[in-house]
Amino acid sequence: MAGRVITVTSGKGGVGKTTFSANVSAALAELGKKAVAVDTDVGLRNLDIVMGLENRIVYDLVDVVEGRCRLQKAIIRDKRIATLHMLPAAQTRDKSAVSPDAMEKICAELRSQFDFTIIDSPAGIESGFQNAIAGADEVVIVTTPHVSAIRDADRVIGLLEAAEKQQIFLVINRLQAAMVRRGDMLDIPDILDILAIELLGIIPEDESIVVSSNRGELAALHAASPAGQAYKNIARRLLGEDAPLMPVDEDKGLLKWLARLFKGRAL
């Protein structure tokens, strides 16, 4: 099997990388793909909490890198979806415990076992970021419609281009429909104009994400959550299906606005 290794990164912290990684992995798994979410945020591990798998960790990424256990032993299998897995980061170490070379080896192994390896990266552009992108075939940039997040995303795209990553996709997270209608939020065309990479999806602001993340429940597995719906759409788009860029049940006005927006754009 030759699976896809996709790194999720952003530059800026707090834009929703971990929630995205957890939910898109879950959505892919629910679509029948064998998926593993990998936490590379050594020392600030979070993915396990968002996925509700914290209490099942025995071994972690650093144990694998340092040869204390085999990769298989560190991977946790989710009990809700049989095809969903997670490889946790170490909490008591720091980024120097992993190297880009080690990550490339681990990614190669994961690529042979999983349809999708989703790598959640730490914030920043330092060694942790370099580790996270080392083995990636594709990269998803998560940003929010805030100037600072977009500036950091642009910086990261520049670094990825310099690292000769060819496939870079954009996800705009936490879009507030009401603010967009009032014209108070940064325009999506402006964001696309600056970042100039392919848009993979738009995730609406959704308060229920806070609750589900805190509880370790995955929004992508709940039909009622608009953000969960967006994660599912993104998973389908990753599989090459023609899913909408944004959940359609949100609002007719916004939908019309978006339709106008993307008219003539090759997406």
Binding site: R151, D152, D154, R155, I157, G158, L159, E161, D193, I194, A196
Partner: protein, 224 residues
């Protein structure tokens, strides 16, 4: 290994190229090419003199040699008889030997064909042309003019350090900060974000002014 059949050495007169003239020309060309291939970047931009001794050399042979040299960016300056003794002085340090002739900054162009993103910097002594956007947080620095065939949303510093005649032009003009020679400007807060027409900035009476490019006004030059 026999002694090198192609040799380049530094002399007081510049770089001297020596060939073993006992071989026929086609072989000389091959040997020269092999020699240049060893480190093509090293030779690029160099100018050399060819030592021909006292033998008659045909113009067409010289032309063929010059063509091979030129392929590696080496210019044949001329031919000299044997320069025995000239290279007795120690050659200058290698990096000095191969420094390409300085480009005229007024006519040298640096072309960047990409989006210059946040945190990236493009700098050159001459003119800089960006085919693409300059994003917020990016910097473009030029000794003379800056042209952005795209959107200028970052910072542009033209005429560094003191060329007051330098200009900055962009199709979509929305920079964070501009500098020309010693002058600094930032767009006024009230400025509507880019007018939709190409604009250019220049120094006029000791301040940077930005104006729309208009057809039929004689290009980029000052009026009056």
């Amino acid at each position: 290994m026999s002694k090198p059949r192609v040799k380049l050495s530094g002399t007081d007169y510049g770089l001297l190229l020596r060939l073993e003239w006992d071989s026929p020309l086609p072989q000389l060309l091959v040997e020269l090419e092999e020699y240049l291939q060893q480190s093509p970047k090293f030779f690029a931009g160099a100018q050399v003199l060819l030592e021909i001794g006292s033998r008659p050399v045909l113009q067409q042979d010289l032309e063929q040699l010059a063509v091979v040299l030129l392929r590696y960016g080496v210019t044949l300056q001329g031919v000299v008889p044997i320069l025995d003794g000239l290279e007795r002085r120690p050659p200058p340090a290698a990096h000095a030997m191969f420094t390409p002739a300085p480009l005229d900054p007024l006519t040298s162009l640096h072309l960047e064909q990409r989006t210059v993103r946040s945190g990236e910097k493009v700098a050159a002594d001459g003119h800089v042309i960006i085919m693409g956007d300059v994003n917020p947080g990016a910097e473009v620095i030029a000794g003379y003019n800056i042209f952005v065939w795209g959107a200028l949303r970052g910072s542009a510093y033209a005429g560094v350090p003191d060329h007051e005649e330098a200009i900055i032009a962009a199709l979509h003009f929305a920079p964070i900060q501009l500098r020309i020679a010693g002058h600094i400007a930032r767009p006024p807060e009230a400025r509507p974000s880019a007018s939709g027409t190409p604009e250019l900035a220049r120094i006029d009476e000791n301040a940077i002014v930005v104006e729309a490019w208009e057809r039929g006004r004689g290009g980029f030059y000052k009026r009056g």
